[in-house]
Symmetry: C4
Subunit: 179 residues, 4 copies
């Protein structure tokens, strides 16, 4: 089970024009906002990736402005794990469970998640904060990753799992976010 | 395979306003009624949970009135297994297979079932007596739990499995309930 | 892989009024006819079950008349494997792979298949020759059985697997049946 | 993970009238074209099968003309692996991962993939370049093969996995193909 001491969040490539071209783009951005705010309330570390931002554009403002104290990590490889800075920050957090959100499910999300699984991290794919241009590509990617050992979850499910108890001091904060 | 000596039923949080807000609310309540009556005919032990009933309201009358001799167990944690009274009663029954019904699939049902699996109990999720506000949240939760070792079933399937033989003395009682 | 020397067919309870009440009843009967004729062309042994035929009626004529030299096995238990005659005939054939068709997916098909898996037989569920009154009950049963070790197949898929080669002497017979 | 040195492509039976009778026939042919061109850009070996071409017709021109230096392998068995020439060429390439595309999913694709799995090769089924006459037959075949150890992928997913990095010299070639 997830808890607030063993878990972090990775936000992948919600940037530029692509962020607006994926299926259910506006829900993706709104849901990722909720997820980031929820993880911040629970004090989880957040890692934040961008694919060649000089070419594809930076992370959408709605999300970037939530993380003024974090630096995005620019990568050229589709997998975050092939990036030295990313792996260094990831290992520095000392967390073994990683919530993953972002785009595109079947390219950068898939390759990053596969590499994390191969490195024996626990990967939790947040269904309602992941997308691809094609909904069927997303479905295939999530099914394949689950088959290979990833867990599926969604925003409510993982935040309630992290809270565990309605007496948790942040329960009302999370409840407000989700409503 | 399930049989009447190795199996009990857990009813989770079908209470207050939430019981009427989940997807297919009236079927959920009617189906859970059938399941409770079927389990009573087969003399299975029933454990019955409520999430902070002082705030969220008590179990719906249609179900509570079927169990006049049982005491609901109030909890603040989303998982029943984090509650001492629940675990004490569960262990006292000496059963290793637990049919699970109730709401919400992706919160209290999910967390209780996950903890039972981690404790090496056999978990059987009763598909037509489980719901969430969102049908897609329920689907994700059941798929995730099955992936992690839970069995799926439904009311007819599990009651016929418990009966095993059409010569079972309670066969006609169960047949009447299901029709 | 299936081959004509390791494999037999079990036909479960396609009888009485129930045979006409299940979802896609006429396709079920027509498809099972094809499957029986295909298995006969390939000389597979066929076992044939009926649930309390004195009460529920006998196997539908379209199928019974295809098997004039076989005797149906009457059972009271939902699982064929709890029936002594069935198990005796099954073991007598010396086959380890069993194609399974019939009704209802979530009751007698499910319980027979589960018991066969527990006895270490290989179970192959023929999707287009299995039904339940409710299509969702069938879907749940097949998914659960596959999760527990059964293989899924369909009529074309299993007959072509048994043939293996278009030079097989019965290839044209099977091709005619399937068209 | 796939990479350009451990991986090859197998094209199965996209030939004659059948190529035009399968579900989504024109997408299948167009997608397979993209896949072949992508694999050629990445210098993967390609093996190319035909089922009794004297009877069923040869590979469709749109695909055959892309491979002027390859010889199709004619087979009578539904599984390519039962064909000596195919196995010889396959072993000669020294690759352990095989992308598979073609028709029909539940007959020749299924039997070839099953045999490759039994021989301990890694099988990657390219969802958008595989078809059957019936879409439900394809779905069953892919699900069964995944259950038995095959990986699912699609054209974009596998080409990006093979590229790994946007700095790869063929990145722009692949990008043009996919657009």
């Amino acid at each position: 089970m997830l808890n607030t001491s063993n878990c972090g969040l990775i936000v992948i490539d919600i940037q530029g024009k692509l962020a607006h071209k994926v299926a259910n783009s506006s829900e993706l951005i709104a849901n990722t906002r909720t997820l980031i705010l929820g993880c911040q309330a629970l004090k989880l570390p957040i890692l934040w990736l961008e694919q060649t931002p000089d070419k594809l554009g930076i992370t959408v403002k709605e999300l970037a402005q939530l993380m003024p104290f974090e630096q995005p990590i620019a990568k050229t490889t589709f997998s975050g794990c092939a990036n030295h800075t990313f792996m260094q920050r990831l290992r520095h957090t000392n967390k073994c469970h990683w919530l993953i959100c972002g785009i595109e499910a079947h390219i950068c999300v898939y390759q990053t998640a596969s590499d994390l699984l191969a490195l024996n991290f626990n990967v939790v794919l947040i269904d309602d904060a992941i997308s691809s241009r094609s909904a069927s590509h997303k479905a295939l990617a999530l099914q394949k990753l689950q088959h290979n050992g990833a867990q599926l979850s969604n925003i409510e499910m993982c935040l309630y799992e992290l809270l565990a108890d309605s007496l948790h001091p942040e329960f009302r904060t999370i409840l407000q976010l989700i409503k």
